[in-house]
Amino acid sequence: MFDKVRRLTVRSLLLVLGTGVTLIASTGPAWPHAFPDHSDPRVGSEVQSAPKMVRIWFDGRLEPLFSAIHVMNQQGQRVDTGPSGVDPGDATLLTTEVPPLPPGVYTVVWDVVAVDGHRTEGRFDFTIKGGP
């Protein structure tokens, strides 16, 4: 009986893991509730020169009306000048333009609704080392 139990346990483990791996491989990295995939500047990065744009690529398509991005300085003031929002040619891309920014730490704040209606939000910092 115990051998049967042990075999069943191992098979169950393999079945669950195998099913999980199959589902993982078939669905890809995207989350229905959109989550950042990568950004420019990168999260927590230090850049030598000020960027002209801040961009976040999400792993799901966004609803333009309910999605936004802002850039704040260390004093909590908004410094992006727009236009900002979901890129018309790529519904996974959220962008905003920024003027030449002085060295310092900046916070990117985003708030999005994915096409499935789920809302997610977040923020991250990046640092400008050199001048504009």
């Binding site: 009986m1 115990f2 139990v5 069943l8 346990t9 169950s12 483990l13 669950v16 893991l17 099913t19 999980g20 589902l23 993982i24 669905t27 890809g28 990295p29 995207a30 989350w31 229905p32 509730h33 989550f35 950042p36 990568h38 950004s39 990168r42 999260v43 927590g44 990065s45 609803e63 009306l65 309910f66 999605s67 936004a68 802002h70 908004r78 929002g85 704040v109 708030d111 999005v112 609704v113 994915a114 499935d116 209606g117 789920h118 809302r119 997610t120 939000e121 977040g122 923020r123 991250f124």
Partner: protein, 309 residues
Amino acid sequence: MVRNLSVRIVMVVCGIVAALSQAAPVWAHGFAGQRFFPEPIVMEDPFAADEMNLPSFSYIRTHDARELSFGVELQKRLTPNLGVSIGGEYAMVNPLDPTQPNSTGFVSPEFAVKWTPYINGPHETVVGVQVSLGSTLGNHNVSEEHSSLGTQISFGRGLGDVPESLPWLRPVAIEGALGIEDPIGATAPDGTVLHSFVVLQYSLIYLQSFVKDIGLPWPLSRVFPQVEFSFDSMLSGGDRGRTTAYVYPGFVWAGKYIEIGLEAQMPLNDYAGDNIGVVGMLHLFLDDMMPSVFHPIFGVAPPKPALGS
């Protein structure tokens, strides 16, 4: 007993009234602010959800038997913060004493109502309350002989707001739960049990998305290394004062539609035995797989235009 039952009924009614009276936007399941709390394997988390365990499993060798079980649980939201669930198990118990017979069958199903009355996004905090009823509908050779009534309060707290001098601590989350389970019925031999849980978790996706992009590729970036602890303490009955404690080191992986989890079950004290077991699950996010079918039935507010737009 009657007073305990009355208190719990009042709690559930208050939760239903409060939840139905508040229309809320449909947040993605398991989120408090920018913190995603994946479903733990052992502990019941604080969130009402449209999700399913299909299956969960556990295997361990105790002092007197080898026990293997498979479970299924379906959770359904009534409102964004109130949900119900039903769960069941199929168990196989193989006594170490060869003179004792094996026992197999369906364990009595459990029904529960879960309310999430508090979510604080900026501080990544969530609190949940659950009332559950264990039935006697299963096979008697693997089930309790009496019904039970359980109440649990649980919480989750992400450390995303720790001082900036501790950036590598920000992906950490702590979850915990405290619950009481009472047998129902004058002839119930067992006593009241205090169930306690703690989960310590590190979120690699939180690290990548909000602290520092270290270039972790998918699917590694979706891994949550974690360790769970469980403590079951008998508060009355013949085993009063006895606590059975386990630690469960392992991980969960959360993706687009599913979550998988695997942990070792390791004894922390003598009552838990000497052997290492294993627990795991395949968890389905039904509201993401079929959003037109699985969503809160009542009290959903439409999304608002985003900040500054």
